[in-house]
């Protein structure tokens, strides 16, 4: 198993492209606040993507709600390390409820990149170890891009809940998500089949 300090530092936009390329069954993806969802957006909008704009730390709980509502759909929460630090308790909740269709992907650049690159107070923390400690037994660091793809493949084919942590380099996001919350919600609900409308999406 890869240790945190041995994990290769990867490019967030590249990882988001690799994730999105693997999604062939209308899997839901909840993108956490800021640069995390910006690069999800940049990787190509899908109706099954939800982009958080605020509520820092809630990507995993929102994804958990989607996963509980639709147990047959695979659901990914893509969350930043600073965001997860705000809501670590959610990992224990996920482990307790154990939804088989939920995967948590933590993108760890060790900093609050969007506010100027200040270090998070987690220099000695190991997010995969925290997740295992909460009861997510298979939680693992992605060693490199190939390992990331292998772990994403496991999320798509094996019952979870899953937890993948990936170390990031310091490259900025490609662009920013269009900030229109009701429109994002409306499109996501259509993508989930939870809303029908004659209005064009």
């Amino acid at each position: 198993m890869t240790a945190a300090h041995n994990a290769k530092r990867m490019y967030r936009f590249d990882l988001m492209q690799r994730l999105v390329a693997r999604l062939e069954h209308e899997e839901a993806v909840i993108g956490g606040i800021g640069n995390t969802n910006f690069d999800l957006w940049s990787a190509g909008h899908r109706p099954q993507n939800f982009y958080m704009l605020g509520s820092m730390g809630l990507a995993v709980p929102i994804a958990l709600g989607v996963a509980l509502a639709q147990p047959r759909r695979k659901v990914f929460a893509v969350e930043g390390d600073g965001s997860l630090l705000m809501q670590l308790g959610c990992l224990a909740t996920v482990a307790t409820l154990a939804p088989q269709n939920l995967a948590i992907l933590v993108l760890d650049n060790g900093m609050y990149q969007i506010t100027g690159g200040q270090e998070t107070p987690a220099a000695r923390a190991d997010f995969a170890a925290i997740a295992r400690g909460c009861g997510l037994a298979g939680a693992a660091w992605a060693a490199d891009e190939a390992d990331f793809e292998r772990l994403v493949g496991q999320c798509l084919t094996i019952d979870g809940p899953h937890f993948i942590a990936a170390k990031l380099d310091d490259q900025p996001p490609v662009t920013q998500t269009e900030r229109d919350p009701p429109q994002i919600r409306d499109r996501f609900m259509r993508g989930m089949g939870a809303k029908q409308s004659k209005l064009p999406g």
């Binding site: 509520s55 809630l58 995993v60 709980p61 994804a63 709600g65 509502a69 809501q87 308790g89």
Partner: protein, 176 residues
């Protein structure tokens, strides 16, 4: 026999197909929580923090399942940021039921102090909220508030007054 407030609440939730009930517990809510766990229609479970529950109910709504968060007054006080930026901004009908602590015989000064922030916060957020004080109004207020939230896609809060529930009162200072 007249139904107790928690039986009314359970019936109204069921009638409105509100199934998913994440909560942070409270003594006053105990009979409702017990009844929800006993009824297979509902999926009730604890979360580590009230913010999580708001996220869970928001996600579930967007995927077609209705839910409600249960908490006490002090728990509500942790929520202003996520309520503003998730259900209010995205127009998601996250429903909150708040057991009202901090007033009418409160023994805990911490609860009394945080109680003063609840209504100003709900008002500042522009969130629909109603206090339920009487058993004979409980069904009407709950049912109509839930329906309106779902029909208008806006969050709402129901405050369960000690006048309805009896609250959690002690008559003298406890030293223990």
């Amino acid at each position: 026999m007249e139904r107790a407030w928690h039986q009314v609440a359970l019936d109204v939730l069921k009638a409105n197909e509100v199934r998913l009930i994440p909560y942070v517990p409270d003594n006053v809510l105990k009979p409702l929580i017990a009844a929800l766990h006993a009824d297979p229609f509902f999926h009730a479970f604890t979360v580590a923090r009230e913010e999580e529950a708001v996220g869970i109910v928001a996600g579930a709504w967007m995927a077609g399942t209705k839910g409600m968060v249960l908490m006490q007054t002090s728990g509500f006080a942790t929520l202003a940021n996520v309520l503003a930026s998730l259900p209010c901004a995205f127009q998601i009908p996250v429903l909150l039921t708040i057991s009202e602590r901090g007033t009418m015989g409160e023994f805990n000064l911490g609860q009394a102090a945080v109680w003063r922030t609840m209504r100003p916060t709900l008002e500042a957020l522009g969130m629909e909220h109603h206090v339920i004080t009487r058993l004979d109004e409980c069904e009407f207020i709950m049912d109509r508030t839930i329906r309106q939230a779902h029909l208008t896609q806006m969050p709402a809060a129901l405050i369960l007054s000690p006048l309805l529930t009896g609250g959690k009162a002690v008559t003298r200072q406890v030293v223990a």
